[in-house]
């Protein structure tokens, strides 16, 4: 019997713990999602209402009515002890409103009342036009195209070059290989700022400033060391017998790479691809340094320039920000498993 009681207590405690965890998670996720909600809501507001105080989540607008050849705000007036009546606001003056009643016993009459007794009638009016308006204020189509070019070429380069190099470190025996692999790992510890300035000077000397080359070429030269590490570890789990069999059939190393390694490594190659997608898409400092002319900007830098020029048009800014985030969010949802798995393997951040 006592065992049963203990068992029940344990179960109750466990259920309580789960309930508490659940409540905290709901609260936490609401907090984590607020920025997104706020962004989308602001992107659908009017210029006049983005900075409303107090702010509202839904893009609201006060209803209006045409009366005496004027556009007047509609409101509901609740007189003390009386029935609420629909009114049109004629004048708002330091907390005192002059209104014309549109319903109720005093219909057609002019009424005065303090602001506190009156509530403006609002309606939810998402302003979808913000999106095309914002998108055409600057050449965002061009920015999108530029970002796509850099991202696609960067991904292809990263996947090809890192898997190429990783194959060498995983499968081929050559003098100095293990020492160089330690060097690969050591470059992980090197903050990119150390090589930033000399790289800029090199690209400048080559005449590559204001071209996409400084953003793409490094991806074709071994990309990031994390990916080489990730791919090497994966290649080493592929049975050597498979290469040997291919070799007996006369395959060269290149063929082994294309016909054995790559087809068997699709999941990890996908991981590398999605990570480099996010890194390239979100990159800000690179394009900021290397691209100058407006026609060459990427979305990230274009957004920043937009903010610098039209920063007060918060509703438009949020519309473009929303559009810029959509592709990454989609990729995130499509490839979530890849992200989670590789982050556990290597700890690389998105």
């Amino acid at each position: 019997m006592s065992a049963g009681v203990r068992e029940g207590g344990w179960r109750r405690r466990r259920r309580f713990r789960q309930g508490a965890a659940y409540a905290l998670l709901v609260l936490g996720s609401a907090a984590y999602l607020t920025p997104f909600l706020w962004m989308v809501s602001a992107s659908l507001k009017q210029y006049e209402t983005v900075f409303d105080f107090p702010p509202t989540l839904l893009p609201k607008q006060v209803k209006t009515v045409r009366l005496h050849d004027q556009v007047l705000k509609l409101a509901t007036y609740s007189p003390p002890g009386g029935k609420p009546a629909r009114v049109a606001v004629l004048k708002a003056d330091a907390g005192l409103l002059t209104m014309e009643a549109l319903s109720g016993p005093r219909k057609g009459q002019t009424v005065k009342a303090p602001q506190a007794a009156v509530k403006y009638d609002t309606m939810i009016t998402p302003r979808w036009r913000n999106y095309p308006e914002a998108w055409t204020t600057m050449p965002f189509n061009r920015f999108l195209l530029n970002t796509l070019i850099i991202t696609v070429l960067g991904i292809v380069g990263t996947v090809l070059s890192t898997s190429f190099v990783a194959y060498s470190f995983a499968r081929l025996r050559w003098p100095g290989r293990d020492v160089l692999f330690v060097v690969v790992m050591a470059t992980l510890m090197l903050p990119s700022q150390v090589t930033l300035i000399p790289q800029y000077v090199i690209y400048r000397t080559l005449g590559w400033i204001d071209t996409f080359l400084p953003l793409i070429v490094p991806a074709w030269l071994g990309g990031s060391a994390v990916y080489i590490f990730l791919l090497r570890q994966f290649f080493m789990t592929i049975p050597v017998e498979l290469d040997e069999a291919a070799r007996i059939d006369g395959a060269s190393s290149f063929t082994v790479w294309t016909r054995v390694m790559l087809p068997l490594s699709k999941p990890i190659l996908a991981t590398v691809a999605v990570f480099s997608f996010v890194a390239l898409w979100n990159d800000f400092m690179g394009p900021l340094i290397y691209l100058n002319s407006t026609k060459n900007l990427t979305l990230a830098v274009g957004l920043r320039v937009f903010q610098g020029t039209y920063g007060t048009y918060m509703h438009l800014l949020m519309a473009v920000a929303t559009v810029a985030l959509v592709p990454v969010v989609i990729i995130f949802f499509v490839a979530q498993k890849q992200f989670v798995r590789s982050i556990v393997l290597t700890g690389i951040k998105g």
Binding site: Q18, A21, Y32, W38, W174, Q193, I228, F284, G350
Partner: protein
Amino acid sequence: MRPRRREAWEGYAFAAPWIGGFLMLTAGPMLFSIWLSFHRWNVLQPAHYVGAFNYVYAAHDPRFWTALTNTAAYALVGVPLGQVVALGLAVLLNQQVRGQGFFRTVFYLPSVIAGVATAMVWTLLLHPDAGAVNLVLRGLHLPEKSMPGWFTSPSWWPPGAMPGLILMSVWGTGAAMIIYLAGLQNVPQDLVEAAEIDGATAPQRFRHLTIPMLTPTIFFNVVMGIIGSFQVFTSSYVVSNGTGGPADATLTYVLYLYKHAFEQFHMGYAAALAWIMFAILMSITLLVFKSSGRWVYYEGVQRR
């Protein structure tokens, strides 16, 4: 079997992209950068050798110290706070609640998409009047004089720009959370059950079992967190319109380096700044590594 020598040649050929990239984009630039840090150079005129001047200058440059203390404060407050939040979320997610996948997605998403767009969203979110955060705080009837000014104020209290940046960084700790979650799932369940049978309460189990088992993960996340914090750039650039303001409150180290290198073209000084940062990061990492013997528990490794 293939002849050895042929295989060696192929090995070099396959590693060539990385070797080339390493020589041209890492090793060469590092040497060049050391050389640069002892010169004064504005890209257009020939470089002048100035000895250790750039390093000495940094020591006497008040904005260098501002940038360094800002970044240190960002790391010192942001990393522990981020780790606590990440670990807390991971523990909650580990409770086998329904919808675990959904919650995990929500908490992880911000860290993946963080960039210019999200930094802009935060400038609105932390707007003193129109922002959601202050709306909630006003709902709690906080006195108006302790209402945060966020990116409009350089103060720490009421929360100003730097606390705002830290809040953004905490929002982006999803990656650390995922790593903690994996760590938690590796805590042997039989140990937990044994402790439970011995009458250990949940907090006791967490303190004396889960935390020690997680120390390698904590160690890894802390090191990565420090390195990441020192490199913060995009968020401080975006919230301050590239100025590091108000009153240099968001002037982080890399932003300061960027301004010297690419706004004023003080290439020598910027190179010196990069090396100072490298030295600081290396020392911190070494320090954490050194201390790890005392607090990181590795299974199967005997403690002396």
